[in-house]
């Protein structure tokens, strides 16, 4: 396709996502938060509309949009509701790992499913979070097969996804990633977390009891586990930056609408300098996050290093979305503190991303390390 046509296709994608968000997602934003799950039929409609395949290459039945367009689509979606955008973020970052590290047999088996089934990446265990060196999930080689045993917790889309990439240690203590699916003997789901935000996105535990997988289920090579985990984090952080920019788009809209409508005595709030300062802060934070994730996505598409900028997008974006969410709540006064208004759940939604895919502190360590080593 020519560059001009691809640009037009990207615009058409954004219009379509915008229509889907306005018609299907935004109207159930509060409902998703209150009932703690997607309403019946919403996820199925997202599948039917082809949203799972936005970034999946066309050879596997997807649309093959690049990561920059995909991230922009998630920002639009997250401005209506962040949960579905985070579900897709977890799915897309996993597809990226198949594309980078998967062997042809593995990809031919699993990637055509990714148009209608969620793929998930699972690293965290009960004993530790983002530090993969202490993991206890074991992979034992038996002939042409591997036997996987262990527990993984806090998996984004746990229970919703049917295919899981799991980080495990081999007998010689090397890290490797294996692909298991929910239909394999020995696979079971554990507890779904009762998190305070992103209530639509399921986060759950999986238990693997001597799951036998053929050798081609090894993603990449034995010893590449740490690299693949880091890569998955970097890819996730680009998209999380987009989701956070989407949440701030929503926060800004709420703040502006309310400031125009509400009066303090006879003066509309937006004419008061104290409100103007807050709205400017929200707009600046949203714009900065947008620039950071778009820069990270652009670098990724161009094949240049992007992990540091992606970490900045998530670190700055998550802290900002919580902070300016609080500013928005302050503009709304008592209404902001009410569960009848969405702002309190936007703060809870954004708060998840100060932790997920590496905490803010871990982001900042990685950013500092990159700066010191320049």
């Amino acid at each position: 396709m020519t560059d001009k046509n691809q640009k037009l296709a990207n615009q058409m994608l954004m219009h379509m996502i915008s229509d889907f968000t306005n018609n299907e997602l935004a109207p159930v934003d509060m409902l998703i938060d209150k009932q703690g799950d997607y309403p019946e039929g919403l996820f199925e409609l997202a599948v039917q509309t082809g949203l799972l395949g936005i970034t999946l290459p066309q050879q596997y039945g997807g649309a093959g949009f690049d990561y920059a367009a995909t991230a922009q689509a998630l920002q639009i979606m997250a401005a209506g509701n962040a949960s579905l955008a985070v579900t897709l973020e977890g799915h897309f970052k996993t597809i990226e790992q198949f594309m980078k590290y998967g062997n042809p047999e593995l990809n031919d088996h699993y990637l055509p499913l990714a148009t209608h089934q969620i793929l998930a990446f699972s690293q965290t265990e009960p004993s530790g979070g983002s530090n993969p060196t202490g993991i206890t999930t074991r992979a034992v080689k038996q002939g042409d097969n591997w036997v996987i045993t262990g527990d993984k917790i806090m998996i984004t889309n746990g229970g919703l996804a049917s295919v899981y990439c799991v980080l495990a240690k081999t007998e010689d203590d090397q890290l490797a990633v294996f692909v298991v699916d929910q239909d394999m003997p020995g696979f079971s789901f554990g507890k779904r977390e009762d998190f305070i935000g992103l209530k639509g996105t399921p986060v759950a535990e999986i238990v693997m009891d001597h799951i036998v997988v053929p050798d081609y289920h090894l993603l990449g090579q034995v010893g590449q586990g740490l690299e693949i985990g880091d890569q998955a984090h970097a890819d996730a952080r680009v998209l999380m930056g987009a989701v956070l920019a989407g949440i701030m788009t929503h926060e800004l809209q709420i703040a502006v609408d309310y400031a125009k409508e509400r009066k303090a005595l006879t003066t509309p709030l937006y004419q008061l300098q104290v409100t103007q300062q807050k709205i400017a802060d929200i707009a600046i934070a949203k714009q900065n996050t947008e620039l950071l994730y778009q820069q990270a996505a652009k670098l990724k598409v161009q094949g240049q290093p992007y992990a540091e900028i992606a970490a900045m997008a998530k670190s700055y974006g998550s802290r900002s979305a919580v902070k300016v969410g609080d500013e928005t709540l302050q503009i709304l006064g008592g209404y902001g503190y009410s569960r009848d208004y969405p702002i309190e759940h936007l703060i809870r939604d954004a708060r998840a991303m100060e932790l997920a895919e590496g905490s803010i502190e871990k982001m900042n360590l990685e950013i500092t390390k990159a700066e010191i080593n320049k």
Binding site: M1, A9, M16, T49, G50
Partner: protein, 255 residues
């Protein structure tokens, strides 16, 4: 079964502009498919799947209308035609219906022509019936349901302001579609990419051998002399306060 769906691009916002010379709508590049036309596309796609047929989109307008045709192709239509040239510009409904009907004849073997019931910008609802007259085929307007019969007929259920009517017509026929007929599907991301691979042909008045006296502004008997927003009538509202009994007394007195 070959089905043609005539679609129109309309402004994507309420901020429409009027040409001060012609008093016609200025066709903005930032447009969307007329919402009722999406219902017509959805109806055509469903019939195509039933009959193993073909859905062809047809529109008339500037080059920017290509985007709406691509969106229709991304919804699942098979091919598209755009009638576009300066000579066709400024057309009223009659000078629109004539080139569309000529294009349908040139496409050939069309058994069903679908339209949205009306466009949301001009709101006339005239183009569908005009095309049907030019083609000399029966028409079913304001249809909320259509079914094909085995003997090559179409049964349309019309919903009018105060009545429902079931009409059976022989194919080929033309139908204008109400929004109650269906819920249009979204263009999927994959189909958006694939839409650029589908045939999209641009025809001018020369391709259709059109009579120059019957196209564009010159071929339009409608002369728009003025476009204005009606003045909002000011309503008087009186709030009745006090107890319900007191309010009722006050209401009775004022009546």
């Amino acid at each position: 079964m070959k089905i043609v769906v005539c679609i129109k691009q309309v402004p994507s916002t309420n901020d429409v502009k009027i040409d001060p010379q012609t008093h016609n709508l200025v066709r903005s590049a930032d447009g969307v498919i007329n919402p009722f036309d999406k219902n017509a596309i959805e109806a055509a796609l469903k019939l195509r799947d039933q009959t193993n047929g073909e859905v062809i989109l047809l529109s008339m307008g500037p080059e920017s209308y290509r985007e709406s045709l691509l969106e229709g192709l991304a919804m699942g239509a098979d091919s598209a035609y755009l009638l576009s040239s300066r000579a066709l510009g400024g057309a009223d409904t009659l000078a629109t219906g004539y080139p569309l009907s000529q294009a349908i004849q040139k496409i050939g073997d069309v058994e069903l022509v679908l339209f949205g019931r009306q466009s949301v910008d001009a709101d006339t609802g005239q183009v569908g019936p005009i095309v049907a007259e030019y083609l000399n085929v029966p028409q079913v307007t304001f249809a909320e349901a259509i079914d094909l019969t085995e003997d090559h007929h179409l049964i349309g259920k019309r919903r009018l302001d105060a009545a429902e009517q079931e009409v059976e017509v022989e194919l080929p026929a033309a139908v204008t579609v109400r929004s109650e007929m269906n819920q249009p599907r979204y263009a999927t991301p994959r189909q958006i990419q694939k839409s650029f691979e589908k045939p999209l042909t641009v025809w001018t008045e020369q391709d259709l051998d059109l009579d120059p006296e019957r196209i564009g502004l010159a071929g339009s008997p409608t002369q728009v002399t003025q476009v204005y927003a009606p003045a909002a009538a000011k309503k008087r509202v009186t709030m009745l306060t006090g107890t319900p009994e007191h309010a009722v007394q006050e209401l009775l007195q004022s009546l």
